[in-house]
């Protein structure tokens, strides 16, 4: 016999209602049950109309981010037993437009991500015959932490700056820009600087630091942003004292 816990799930059905409501569902759980298992139980056995995103259920795909008792969490890595005796309140991630039930629109983040060119930029590609770009373990360590980002957007949900001003490019996009800036094979730092040093780039950040606290992959976006502020300030000093072509 397993224990039961109550899930209070936010429902938003735009064709029926203009504000979200909460439905309560009683689900069984063991110490291994994640919040996502509870949602799947509801979907499979209690109410097939509930919609939410999920895929890998092992903290890799980054699609099951939701607010659990008000905190942004990956629901596959958040356990029901930790919330016993309940109830557990599951809501869509904050700071994003809600499409339906627990599903938010991620388009804004996807567009911002592309702007920082999160891939290796080369001025001239080495011919294949010369082999791969080699890297030492120290060079890998420079950016490895930032490469762990899974685009789950929990950091955007925790960031009050993004909540207040959705134009802010946001924690994950900046951390991923740094992931490539700090990669010795990359030559795109100048391109990214144009996007990151504008008004809605790094200077929007006031170092609340919540992005780093909620990150399930320990990426430390807040650290990435502060480090980049120093880089950008030094670059602008350099261009002030030694303008190009002088």
């Amino acid at each position: 016999m397993s224990d039961h816990i109550t899930l209070q799930i936010a429902r938003y059905r735009p064709e029926q209602e203009s504000e979200p409501t909460f439905n309560e569902y009683e689900v069984p759980y063991t110490k291994e049950s994640a919040v996502l298992d509870g949602l799947n139980y509801v979907k499979d056995r209690l109410d097939g109309t509930l919609v939410y995103r999920w895929s890998c259920r092992m903290g890799i795909c980054g699609s099951c981010g939701m607010s659990v008792n008000g905190e942004p969490k990956l629901t596959c890595a958040t356990f029901l037993a930790d919330y016993a005796p309940g109830p557990v309140r599951v809501e869509p991630l904050r700071n994003f437009p809600i499409i339906r039930d627990l599903i938010v629109d991620i388009g804004d983040f996807m567009r911002k991500l592309v702007r920082v060119k999160p891939w290796i930029v080369r001025e001239v590609d080495k011919p294949l015959s010369e082999g791969e770009y080699r890297q030492t373990p120290e060079q890998l360590d420079e950016y490895k932490q930032f490469s762990m980002c899974i685009n789950c957007m929990l950091c955007y949900s925790a960031c009050p700056i993004y909540g207040l001003d959705p134009k802010f490019i946001g924690p994950a996009a900046i951390a991923l820009a740094q992931r490539y800036n700090l990669d010795n094979r990359d030559e795109g730092a100048g391109d990214r600087m144009e996007v990151l040093s504008e008004y809605d780039g790094i200077w929007g950040c006031t170092f609340v630091g919540e992005c780093t606290k909620v990150c399930p992959k320990h990426v430390d976006p807040a650290g990435a942003i502060q480090r980049y502020k120093l880089t950008a300030a030094l670059e602008s000093m350099k261009s002030f004292f030694a303008p190009r072509g002088a």
Partner: protein, 140 residues
Amino acid sequence: MEQTHTGSYTPYHPRWLRRRLSTYWWLEKPAYLWFMLREGSCMFVAWFTLYLLWLLDAVLEGPLAYELFLAWSGTPWVVALNVVTLGFVVFHAVTFFQAAPQAMVVRLGRRRVPPGAVLAGHYVAWAAASVVLWVLLRGA
């Protein structure tokens, strides 16, 4: 049901729910309130700076101005304000130090100095500066 998408249009597009953050968002979580206090502490840092400038001005004006400044500084509301300010300035310094290792990457040779050591370095520098000031002022 077959859905046809033209451009960025989807059937419920106009009815996406966009919620605005409450004006009192900073009261929703202790961490947010802590952040606002940290940001607000800069007002008290500014007050200490002004106070120091007034003190210098009084010293330069001569003994009478200095006496007047001391008398004004002894009034209960100035003492109370300065006690609160001291609290906030210490809070400002401590939170600033806490944030420093996240923003600074210090290297010794090829190795990165661990964040704990960067934090400790700040406190050591603070203590050293305090000792130097204390020695100088005691000698004066």
